[in-house]
């Protein structure tokens, strides 16, 4: 039996891999071997720790020393000083921004202290390509318990009572969905995992697939037992190559250990899983479009009812759940529904994984109990807004969601509170915006995305989003008309009510939400032709401050359209009619005399 005195864990999630964590790991392996320490020190690649803006991350056990921003050039020093001499390399420790202190240990870092990691409990702790490490942390025990000690109805009952709601954004009771499928008659049933995470800026599912793939496999097997299915499909987007690879390895290992396949645990239960790849269509994250895509047809949604639990893949009863939903299942089965229901708010139980992105210091992945306030997430965990800027709003739910302005910072985040202010939980992407973000431009950005991804099947979405985008684009270009806001609102109602699927139905949300909380910005764009945040290029005026201008003429010489005039040693001025707002003059001015407003 192997016995190492030290384990060195190096993050191999997509984020850290793109920052060369693979080179860090191979460098470590070489240095350790060169010093003859390979029998004492084990180098382990793990999944995403979530502290992504500080990657590559490396944790040394047993001390639990937490190193961040580790580069391949640092490896020799780390091995020499820490692994050989036992001296911590201070400069690579995590440095709390406002404190002198450098935090040594993993569980002392503020970012992790406020989190409760359930879906992410194994990410960063185990090697995702080693099924034995998953088993070492109680992996597949939930499946064993279900098969040995519970009936299918017992399993469904536990999941229902736990209060688990769909983590992909729908928020529908997982237990109830499984119950519908259980009650549906059919000679063949299916279990599908929606791993087509398409929201821009969201990578919660990616981290689970890369860091703890077996959790998903085990949960799908449990689901199969509960509803009476013997075949599962994981529909994973092709843009996640590491996740695809790790899932493939995990399935292979599970089959080898007979945890997938025929007669699992000798209990007469058959269940196997195959992978299907997405091909870049956001709409295939919608459940009926996804199932259609698995069937080999163009991914387009269809009307419901009938719901997939009654008639899904190839017309058979099918349950389709999100990756994060599945990641919670083994824990619920092992620890009981009361344990899960003890966390969160009355109608939103458990925890939620959020991907923090945008104008925030600690971009990365976090998991917190439902009911945590936005303020805690942005400031205590996220480390606040960079460069001392002010918080303006946080967008949740991606292109289907809405923004939460500063006045709601103390809102407890859960499914119902978010919908009450016109946003939605979505899959967990949380984009933070500061005073330099233009809310009209944000709405336009999301509409542009939705328009691009619309499958085209139904006119409200196909034509409606196009018209909304046209209006928003005109507004940001300074060509807004007085009736634009009213038209946007009318269009929004129609699109919401008449679209065939969630993509269309929720596409007006960013517009409605920004109109609700930032109407004044829209009015400034339309009536005053001004962008308060200073973003919309067409609405900016470049202006030479006469008191700062030295009359050197550098700006005039560099203006491509000769819009600047003036006499030497006297203040110059820009003709706004000729100015094309290229910014060349601002760059050339050595005295900071030119401003955008």
């Amino acid at each position: 039996m192997e016995f190492y005195r030290s384990h060195v864990l190096v993050c191999a999630g997509t984020g850290c891999t793109s920052s060369d964590s693979r080179l860090v790991r191979s460098g470590l392996e070489k240095e350790v071997k060169d010093r003859g320490l390979e029998k004492e020190i084990k180098i382990v690649e793990t999944g995403c720790f979530g502290f992504c803006n500080m990657g590559p991350i490396m944790v040394v056990y047993p001390e639990g020393t937490f190193y961040c921003l580790v580069k391949p050039e640092d490896v020799k020093e780390l091995v020499d000083e820490h692994l050989v001499k036992g001296r911590v390399v201070e400069r690579l420790l995590y440095h709390e921004p406002d404190k002198e202190v450098k935090t040594r240990e993993f569980n002392e870092v503020d970012f992790f202290k406020h989190q409760k990691r359930i879906a992410l409990s194994n990410c960063g702790q185990i090697n995702p390509e080693d099924i034995e490490e998953y088993i070492g942390r109680d992996g597949y025990f939930a499946l064993a318990k279900a098969l040995h000690e519970m009936t299918p109805l017992d399993v469904i009952d536990v999941v229902k009572k736990s209060g688990l709601r769909g983590r992909g954004g729908g928020g529908f009771s997982t237990g109830m969905k499984w119950e519908f499928a259980y009650n549906s008659k059919g000679d063949q049933k299916y279990v599908v995992c929606n791993a087509d995470e398409g929201d821009p800026g969201a990578f919660m599912d990616r981290s689970v697939l890369e860091g703890d793939p077996h959790a998903v496999l085990e949960a799908m097997a449990i689901a199969g037992y509960a509803v009476g299915a013997n075949q599962g499909y994981i529909y994973v987007r092709a843009e996640y190559p590491i996740a695809v690879e790790r899932l493939g390895t995990a399935i292979k290992q599970a089959r080898e250990k007979r945890l997938l396949g025929k007669d699992i645990f000798g209990k007469g239960f058959d269940f196997d899983i195959d992978i299907r790849l997405g091909a870049g269509a956001f709409v295939c994250g919608e459940e009926t479009a996804l199932l259609t895509s698995i069937e080999g047809k163009r991914g387009e949604p269809r009307p419901r009812p009938p719901f997939p639990a009654v008639s899904g893949l190839w017309g058979k009863p099918t349950i389709i759940n999100n990756v994060e939903t599945y990641a919670n299942i083994p824990h619920i089965i092992r620890n009981g529904w009361e344990w899960f229901a003890s966390m969160g708010t009355p109608k939103s139980k458990g925890t939620k994984v959020f991907a923090l992105a945008g104008k925030i210091n600690h971009t990365g992945l976090i998991e917190v109990p439902m009911g945590t306030t936005l303020r805690t997430i942005v400031y205590d965990i996220g480390g606040g807004i960079p460069n001392g800027k002010k918080f303006k709003a946080a967008q949740t739910g991606g292109p289907s969601g809405g923004c939460i302005p500063a006045e709601h910072l103390d809102m407890e985040i859960d499914y119902d509170n978010l919908t009450s202010i016109g946003s939605m939980m979505g899959s967990g992407g949380l984009i933070v915006m500061d005073e330099e973000t233009c809310m009209v431009d944000i709405a336009r950005f999301f509409l542009e995305f939705t328009q691009d991804e619309s499958c085209g099947k139904c006119p409200p979405c196909r034509i409606g989003t196009k018209r909304m985008l046209e209006i928003l684009t005109r507004i940001t270009e300074g060509k807004g008309k007085p009736e634009d806001i009213k038209n946007l609102e009318t269009l929004a109602v129609t699109i919401k009510n008449a679209s065939l699927c969630g993509l269309g139905q929720t596409s007006p949300n960013p517009v409605l939400s920004t109109l609700r909380f930032f109407r004044d910005e829209y009015e400034a764009h339309i009536n005053d032709k001004k962008c308060p945040a200073g973003v919309c290029q067409a609405l900016l005026t470049f202006y030479i401050q006469p008191e700062e201008c030295r009359g050197c003429g550098a700006c005039a010489r560099n203006c491509p359209v000769e819009a600047i005039s003036g006499k030497v040693k006297e203040p110059f001025s820009i003709d706004p009619e000729k100015c094309i707002k290229c910014g060349a003059c601002l760059e050339k001015c050595k005295f900071g005399a030119i401003v955008k407003k």
Binding site: M1, L9, E40, P62, K85, R87, R258, F265
Partner: protein, 126 residues
């Protein structure tokens, strides 16, 4: 897996190899490896300790290296930290003595007084 028992057995086996990632072990053995320590053979002491722990399957004892505590004339030095008690520092430790310390102190819970550096009786309990 043909049975739940098989799964449990595998888990117990693997858990031991991953025990080093748990926060608290039953005890920690610090091997002082400053230059003086290394020059006096601390590496062999470390290897002996690891071998003894492996042979006796004591997977909840953590072994780490640390620097020189200043008692250079007593090297090789090891310090045994047991939660709730003052540290036990042993001096002029050879690989054989190290093995004896592992057995007597960590298994049988008796410090090996003849090699203890801090002989003050107060080191027994906090």
């Amino acid at each position: 897996m043909r049975s739940f028992e098989e799964l449990k057995a595998l888990k117990e086996k693997v858990e031991k190899t991953m025990a080093v990632r748990q926060d608290k072990g039953a005890a920690t053995v610090l091997v002082h490896m400053g230059t003086c320590g290394i020059a006096n053979g601390a590496r062999d002491v470390l290897n002996a300790i690891m071998d003894e722990l492996k042979t006796r399957n004591l997977t909840d004892i953590h072994v780490t290296q640390t620097g020189c505590p200043g008692l250079c004339h007593m090297e090789p030095l090891i310090t045994v930290n047991i939660p709730g008690k003052n540290p036990f520092m042993y001096g002029k430790v050879s690989p054989e003595i190290a093995r004896k310390i592992i057995v007597q102190q960590l298994v049988n819970n008796q410090p090996v007084t003849e090699w203890l550096v801090n002989l003050d009786k107060k080191t027994e309990e906090k």
